[in-house]
């Protein structure tokens, strides 16, 4: 099997070969390290690459599997963690040179779960500084580059995760999503990104951005891999005060391909907002595919969508500024200027304004829940645009020129506000060869329905088989 073929295999497919001993974790890791060496000068996906460590771990995994100690579908599979996931003994920078030498004493809960599952940590992935931006810029470790066109952004803040997964540098990657930071790079890089329900995946040991909006989750090339990853990382963690105590299903049981009778709502407000016509067409075509497979599609109304930027920004900025208050005072001059400005602007939000935003958040949540009594899923574009040029401050979305931050978070923020599960799955390409994402959102803790619909759509199309020209 050649290097590229191994690197583009899903964890689902690789795991069968690993279990049957047709392929060794050593071969898998070597293939990925070769791929990284070839592509990293262009992409800059990694802040810390663990070449020697991952080779050593692969040899141990090979030994364990040969001895019959197979741990499950992620045993021997390479995983990359966004560099705000604490990893014991491995530096964790949060994308900033301020923490260039910070080495956590222990793994965050998610890293520990991957370790227990036998996954092999390949490295720590590049990100927008402190996760505080949706583009994937990083002046300290270098900007991230989109594998489909390296002059374009990956999206952020989990930009390195997006590029690493899309380019076959790593099989499983993780991100964190506060205003869209898993789904934005997933859509712009042409991969699958799942923001789970708030509280389903532990935040313990991750550098926070906004306590009530942060969601860790998988960024992978197939919906099956998202389900396999969720089987490993989801679940109650007493160390996370917001961790949900719910039963965790086997998420791979969602992968039936059957969407007959599934009720899908298309919020009309999504299609009234600034939106590139090619994106509009691709997303509407995608929803039509689901309809042709038996889903029942109807237009719904989500008026609070139009307030989501104000609500999300007020909550996020206030919480981020509170969390990083000491950092601002001590090391503010070392911060990337746009990040520093956002943190300092957050200091102007009053407690009364923050709480009013939280009241408005309740209304948005209630509206979403009422909608999801009428339908099973809400569908629309993940992004209103395809990836713009790196450092572009404004973008054209349809006929409107808007700020890049507002554009990239336009459709993602509502599901951070209400905490509902939301996935981005590839649904086409622009005429310039850049990926387009379909976003599906469901009821709290109904990842099974979200994954079922995303998987069915994915398997009915071939977008997920395309590879960037790298």
């Amino acid at each position: 099997m050649d290097t590229l073929e191994i690197c583009y295999m899903s964890a689902g497919d690789l795991s069968k070969l690993v279990k049957s001993k047709e392929i060794s974790p050593v071969e898998i890791i070597d293939a990925h390290l070769t791929r990284i060496e070839a592509t990293e000068p262009v992409l800059n996906s990694f802040i810390t690459l663990l070449a020697d460590e991952s080779r050593k771990a692969a040899k141990q995994a090979e030994k364990d599997i040969q001895a019959g100690r197979y741990k499950g579908p992620l045993h021997g599979i390479p995983v990359g963690l966004k560099d705000l996931y604490n990893t014991g003994g491995v530096r964790t920078t949060s994308g900033s040179k301020i923490f260039d030498n910070f080495i956590p004493d222990e793994d965050c809960t998610v890293a520990a779960k991957f370790q227990q599952a036998g996954a092999i940590l390949l490295g720590k992935l590049n990100m927008h500084q402190f996760a505080y931006g949706p583009t994937g810029e990083n002046p300290d470790y270098g900007h991230m580059h989109n594998p489909w066109n390296p002059e374009m952004i990956t999206g952020g803040s989990s930009g390195g995760s997006g590029s690493a997964a899309a380019a076959g540098q790593c099989t499983i990657t993780t991100g964190s999503d506060t205003g869209g930071s898993i789904r934005i790079p997933a859509a712009l890089c042409g991969i699958v990104g799942l923001k789970p329900t708030y509280g389903l995946v532990s935040r313990w040991g991750l550098t926070a951005l906004s306590w009530s909006l942060d969601h860790p989750g998988p960024m992978v090339r197939t919906v099956e891999d998202a389900a396999i990853t969720m089987n490993v990382i989801a679940g109650h963690d007493p160390k996370d005060v917001a961790s949900a105590k719910v039963d965790i299903p086997d998420y791979t049981t969602a992968l039936t391909g059957d969407v007959r009778g599934l009720r899908i709502g298309m919020p009309k407000e999504y299609f009234e907002a600034p939106l590139d016509p090619q994106v509009r067409k691709a997303v509407l075509d995608a929803i039509s595919v689901l309809e042709s497979m038996g889903a029942v599609v109807k237009e719904v109304s989500f008026p609070m969508f139009n307030q989501s930027q104000a609500i999300s920004s007020t909550v996020l900025m206030a919480e981020a500024s509170a969390f990083h208050r000491d950092l601002l005072e001590q090391d503010g001059h070392q911060l990337y200027e746009p990040v520093r400005q956002r943190l300092e602007a957050g200091l102007f939000i009053t407690a009364a304004d923050y709480l009013r935003a939280q009241q408005a958040r309740t209304i948005l949540d209630q509206e979403g829940r009422r909608l999801l009594d009428e339908v099973d899923l809400l569908a629309g574009p993940t992004e209103p645009i395809v990836a713009p040029e790196i450092m572009a401050p404004r973008v054209l979305a349809g006929e409107q020129e808007i700020g890049v931050v507002g554009a990239l978070t336009q459709y993602t923020r509502p599901y951070n506000i209400n905490g509902f599960p939301a996935i981005s799955v590839p649904c086409g390409f622009s005429d310039t060869g850049l990926p387009i994402g379909l976003q599906l959102a469901g009821k709290p803790f109904d990842e099974l329905t979200v994954l079922r619909a995303a998987h069915a759509y994915e398997q009915a199309t071939d977008w997920h088989t395309r590879r960037p020209p790298l």
Binding site: T314, D353, R361, T362
Partner: protein, 64 residues
């Protein structure tokens, strides 16, 4: 602090001083624009009728 008026430069400078925010003039000009944006967002949210609605309590773990 949010009012129906826009945030004045004088008010911004005073709040920035109280918050310990310093910087070059160009930086503070850009930050002033962002701070004005914060006040505009507050105005937008003030337009939402939140009568009888309690704030979303972020740290009660969801149990749906």
């Amino acid at each position: 602090m949010a009012s129906e008026k826009q945030l004045s430069r004088e008010d911004f400078d005073r709040i920035a001083e109280l918050q310990g925010i310093t910087g070059e003039p160009a930086y503070l000009d850009e930050l002033f624009a962002q701070a004005r944006g914060v006040f505009m967002m507050a105005e937008t949210i003030k337009g939402i009728d939140v009568t009888g609605v309690e704030p979303e309590m972020a740290f009660i773990p969801p149990t749906d």
